[in-house]
């Protein structure tokens, strides 16, 4: 479904991604893990078109999207839940969901119902301004908003960041549910243990390079991973 082939991404002179290649097949959950500053967010931003790679290519559903602008990729089926949520703080929950449906106005009522079923807490707060939601609720809103475009591939950047353990469990349950419902998922996580547990496959990123890759359970057992990311 998604094929990233030898991309190099720069911030000015900083070489943030070095020959990164990865693949996500239809129906998979793929995790991307790595330390702070490894280049995980940069990878997602490049796939979603917010950044562009200098060399290499990105193919989505057999179409080269390396140079496609971000706003055009939404209707092609890519949704990106950014790090730090980035919900529209001055808009209501409902308006945020409407923005998520910007390119997909057809089933908007049904899609809102679906999001509310998945996140009942949002339903009770639908007219509340997003800036007044709790961190966990904002994360749910960010995910719900992304679902409004009915994406084929959903990319999530650290959805568990800053959440209490019980909420983290909830968020991971939701990711599992989404996956069961047929959405392909590319998940970036600091929480390597949880990420490897639900992932079919995973890539380990270090200083802008892919260090390791394998199935979730393989990597979870690897000594290198244990030492670096799983606390021994």
């Amino acid at each position: 479904m998604l094929k990233v082939d030898n991309i190099n991404v720069y911030y000015g002179k900083i070489h943030a991604l070095k020959d990164i290649s990865l693949e996500v097949n239809s129906g998979e959950i793929v995790a991307l893990i790595g330390a702070n500053g490894a280049g995980k967010s940069t990878t997602l931003k490049t796939i979603s078109g917010l950044l562009h790679s200098k060399t290499g290519s990105i193919t989505f559903m057999d179409e080269n999207i390396s140079h496609t602008e971000a706003y055009k990729l939404v209707s092609k089926g890519i949704a990106h839940v950014p790090e730090g949520r980035h919900v529209f703080l001055q808009m209501s929950v409902l308006e945020n969901l409407e923005m998520g449906a910007y390119t997909n106005g057809r089933n908007i009522k049904d899609n809102i119902q679906n999001v509310f079923e998945r996140f009942p807490r949002l339903k009770h707060r639908k007219n509340q301004i997003a800036g007044t939601l709790s961190g966990g609720e904002q994360q749910m809103l960010a995910m719900g908003r992304a679902l409004m475009s009915q994406p084929k591939l959903m990319m999530m950047d650290e959805p568990s960041m800053g959440l209490a353990p019980i909420l983290v469990e909830q968020i991971f349950d939701i990711i599992r549910d989404l996956h069961k419902a047929g959405t392909t998922i590319l998940l970036v996580e600091q929480n390597a243990e949880m990420a490897l547990r639900i992932a079919d496959r995973a890539y380990v990123l270090e200083s802008g390079e892919i260090k390791l890759s394998g199935t979730g359970s393989e990597l979870a057992k690897s000594d290198e991973i244990k030492k670096a990311y799983l606390g021994g």
Binding site: Y71, G84, R85, H86, F88, M91, M99, G100, Y102, G131
Partner: protein
């Protein structure tokens, strides 16, 4: 009675400032830049209306429409050629460019129309209203200006709250990257904002010159700066703030002219601005919501 008539003049002048300030505030909200050429777009709009009325004998309403079209195009062109290439540049570069565009417009106007003032014929041709046996007169221009301001305010509020493009504008003004990830074309949205702001500038120009009929190439610059002040005063980025700021500014200006000193009135206006910003740095209706982590 002079108090009442001053108040009405203040509200009327303030309405013009408010309409200009709306353009400033919308563009600031979305592009995070101060478009210092905005005042000069007003001047171009006034000349466009003047020329079609005087030289071509057009009906005032038609000349206003023409002026709106000219300014809308001008706004979009300025954005595309001067500001869009600087989208990722520092804010100082953009500010200097805006000042450059402002002088460019003034000088081109000087070349075309010269420095001799044109006497603008009012687009409003009703009789003034007279109250209390002639003790209080309200000019038709004042009434039309205030009404125009109210109508614009209502339309703009409905536009940003209810329409898809309006909501997209709010999304872009809050968070460009997130808006882009929703499938919103940020560049187009910015162009539309410039178009709307400049169309408002045309209306403001015609109304301003109908009440104060001297038209020269620098006509727009002082009202532009005052409207910018009004936008900051009310809380930059906020539409009701621009409205409130504009009207308060107009009232303060007229009152200080009539009760304190004509020559000091501008100084007083800016002193009030500084005072407000010292007490409430975000302006009267400005707000700041921070992201939860």
């Amino acid at each position: 009675m002079t108090f009442l008539s001053n108040l009405i003049n203040g509200i009327s002048l303030g309405s013009v400032y408010a309409i200009i300030a709306l353009g400033y505030t919308m563009v600031y909200g979305i592009a995070k830049m101060l478009n210092f050429a905005h005042g000069d777009v007003i001047m171009v709009g006034a000349y466009a209306s003047y020329c079609t009325m005087i030289y071509l004998g057009w009906h005032p309403l038609l000349s206003i429409l023409f002026s709106i079209v000219v300014c809308t195009l001008l706004g979009v062109i300025i954005e595309a050629f001067a500001y869009k290439p600087l989208r990722r540049a520092g804010s100082l570069a953009v500010l200097i460019t805006a000042i450059g565009v402002s002088y460019l417009l003034q000088n081109v106007a000087l070349l075309i129309w010269g420095s001799t003032p044109k006497v603008f014929t009012s687009v409003v041709n009703f009789e003034p209203l007279s109250f209390f046996g002639g003790k209080l007169t309200i000019t038709a221009e004042s009434i039309v200006t205030v009404l125009a301001c109210i109508v614009i305010m209502i339309c703009l509020t409905l536009f940003t709250q209810k329409t898809k493009i309006g909501k997209a504008m709010r999304a872009v003004s809050e968070d460009k990257d997130a808006a882009e990830l929703m499938g919103i074309n940020v560049n187009t949205t910015i162009s539309i904002t410039f178009a709307v702001g400049s169309a408002l500038a045309a209306v403001a120009g015609v109304l301003l010159c109908s009440s104060y009929p001297t038209l020269v190439p620098t006509t727009g610059s002082m009202p532009g700066i005052k409207a910018f002040t009004a936008a900051v005063f009310g809380g930059i980025g906020s539409i009701p703030g621009a409205m409130l700021g504009g009207i308060l500014l107009g009232i303060i200006e007229i009152f200080s002219k009539s009760y304190i000193s004509t020559s000091l009135s501008d100084a007083i206006v800016f002193a009030v601005l500084i005072l407000v910003l010292l007490i409430k740095p975000t302006g009267i209706l400005g707000k700041k919501i921070t992201e939860k982590v």
